[in-house]
């Protein structure tokens, strides 16, 4: 196919590339800054992993805590969210639909407000307030709707009630039906929801900034801290570490979302 492209095509391409550059260049520069010996001298000062090393020395704990909170948050949202989505999908009434709508509330309310509410309500329980579980509670509150919605979308797209009746007719009790039939068939929703929860919990700043104590700093809080009080190169190296941790899960999320679509059309 030899097809001569007109000037409009080249104009559009140029514009698109410019927009891409506008978005990508700062990211690349920031990451580059993290491996540059001296950012103010520029790239000619040489490349180094010294800053990444420094970040690891200073902030390894925040990275560890972020991972710990993210996976604990995932466990909580799986245990609470999947059954909740199942119950919501089974119930036909207006109450269930209203709850479904209310589920987006924690997303709509600013994280700071949610965090303040948590502090006002539970701040008095000192041990809880000081432990990482306090941040976990905030994260679960924030990410649970994403898990429920993701699973609910798959459940609505398959006729799981009839599938369950089919399993029941073959002698399967409730637990068997749930484990053999319901769970495997909403796996794509559970996976997508899980990646979403992990990614959101990892990057959550608004809530966490208010909920954390000096001893319970997470990665994004540490990042803000390092930009505020450290060399620019350290903050940038920190960003690089954050990227390396979060980008694979984002890519996986996109792949899963792409795979989920054609299946749900059937």
């Amino acid at each position: 196919m030899t097809h001569r492209r007109g000037p409009a095509f080249w104009a559009q391409l140029t514009f698109t590339l410019l927009v891409c550059a506008l978005l990508v260049v700062p990211v690349v520069l920031s990451m580059l800054a993290g491996v540059t010996v001296n950012y103010f001298v520029g790239i000619k000062s040489g490349l180094t992993l010294k800053w990444v090393d420094e970040v690891w020395r200073l902030y390894a704990e925040t990275i560890g805590l972020s991972m710990q909170i993210a996976f604990a948050c995932l466990a909580c949202t799986l245990l609470l969210g999947v059954p909740a989505a199942y119950v919501l999908a089974r119930k036909q009434g207006a109450v269930a639909r209203a709850i479904e709508e209310l589920l987006v509330m924690p997303v709509a309310v600013p994280g700071l407000a949610t965090a303040l509410a948590l502090i006002v309500t539970y701040g008095g329980f000192g041990d809880f307030r000081r432990s990482w579980l306090f941040i976990l509670a905030g994260h679960v509150l924030f990410t649970l709707p994403f898990m429920v919605r993701s699973v609910l979308a798959v459940l609505h797209s398959i006729d799981f009630a009839t599938l369950e009746e089919g399993a029941a007719s073959l002698g399967a009790g409730f637990i068997q039906r749930f484990v053999h039939v319901v769970l495997p068939n909403c796996l794509s929703g559970i996976l997508a929801g899980s990646l979403m929860v992990l990614t959101l919990s990892m990057g959550e700043f608004n809530l966490t900034w208010l909920l954390h104590t000096p001893l319970t700093k997470t990665l994004p809080v540490g990042l803000a801290d390092s930009y505020a009080s450290m060399r620019l190169e350290i903050g940038s190296a920190y960003t690089l570490v954050f990227f390396v941790m979060i980008v694979p899960s984002l890519i996986l999320l996109q792949i899963l979302a792409g795979r989920g679509r054609p299946r749900s059309e059937q």
């Binding site: 009839t162 089919g166 007719s169 495997p184 068939n185």
Partner: protein, 349 residues
Amino acid sequence: MSGSFHLDAVPVRLRRCAKTFHGGVRALEPLDLDIRGGETVVFLGPSGCGKTTTLRILAGLERPDEGGRVFYGEDDVTALPIERRNVGMVFQSYALFPNMSVAENVAYGLRVRGVPKAERRERAEEMLAMMHIADLAGRRIDQLSGGQRQRVALARALVVRPRVLLLDEPLTALDAKLRDSLRLEIDRLLRALGITAIYVTHDQAEAMALGDRIVVMSKGRVAQVGTPREIYHRPADAFVADFIGTMNRLPAVAQDGRLLLGRGELPWSGPQGRIEVLVRPEDVALTASGGHVDARIAATVFLGDRTRVVAETADGLTLTVDAPGRTDLARGDAVSLGFDPARLLTLPE
């Protein structure tokens, strides 16, 4: 096609089974029904007539209202949910599990019953061979055609040797030609297995072809229970007469051993007075002259094996008449309609 596979013929009884849904909607009026062991009973009716509700009560997917009882043989299974009734069920949408292969779907009932893996595979393969789909064992469900899915669903329902086989509009989702061939196959299968089968459909041709007896339902009530011939030739009421096949309904006057049909008359020994007589299109003789009533052709539809003719009498009565396929008539032609008094029906008042 069944080989040595044969199942027990368990009779099924319904006693005073009614169903009222939330909000007081009565889906089923109290129903008593005896289904003999090994019999195929078809529930037939338009949508919303209560046939699916009845099937779901029989299956254990719904509980009848207080006082209703369901018996499989001598066992009162009313309180048992479907998973403890040992039934086989085929759903309109097949309800095959997309997360399992064909073989795993068929073996699922055995897996739930704790049958060892080797025996499970053997029995599933035997069942797939019986349904002529042995080569599909490893396929995923979304790689199957509608007809293949239907066979898998039947194999899956039968492998557990159910006491009763329940089929909920199993052919509705298929195209006409496939429906006809699968209908014949299901018919042969049910006879060969000797299983008690309960089949729900809104398609009268399917009901006629498959049912030892047909239960015609309307608005939550049983309109008539009978063999296909009884239902067709001796409908119990106007609903059954209209719902099954095509029926001409003609106003007539019967007196002194004569039946007056417009200007025509014929000998009559049935009920007297102003009555309505019913006659099937194939029971009216279409001749050039010498019949009982003169008429003109209003329309003809050539159907290959027969020609369906709409005739209008001088008195304004319209009749649908079936003539042989080679009959060559045109709109406006004069004809004479002949009736056999033995084939005229009247409905009980």
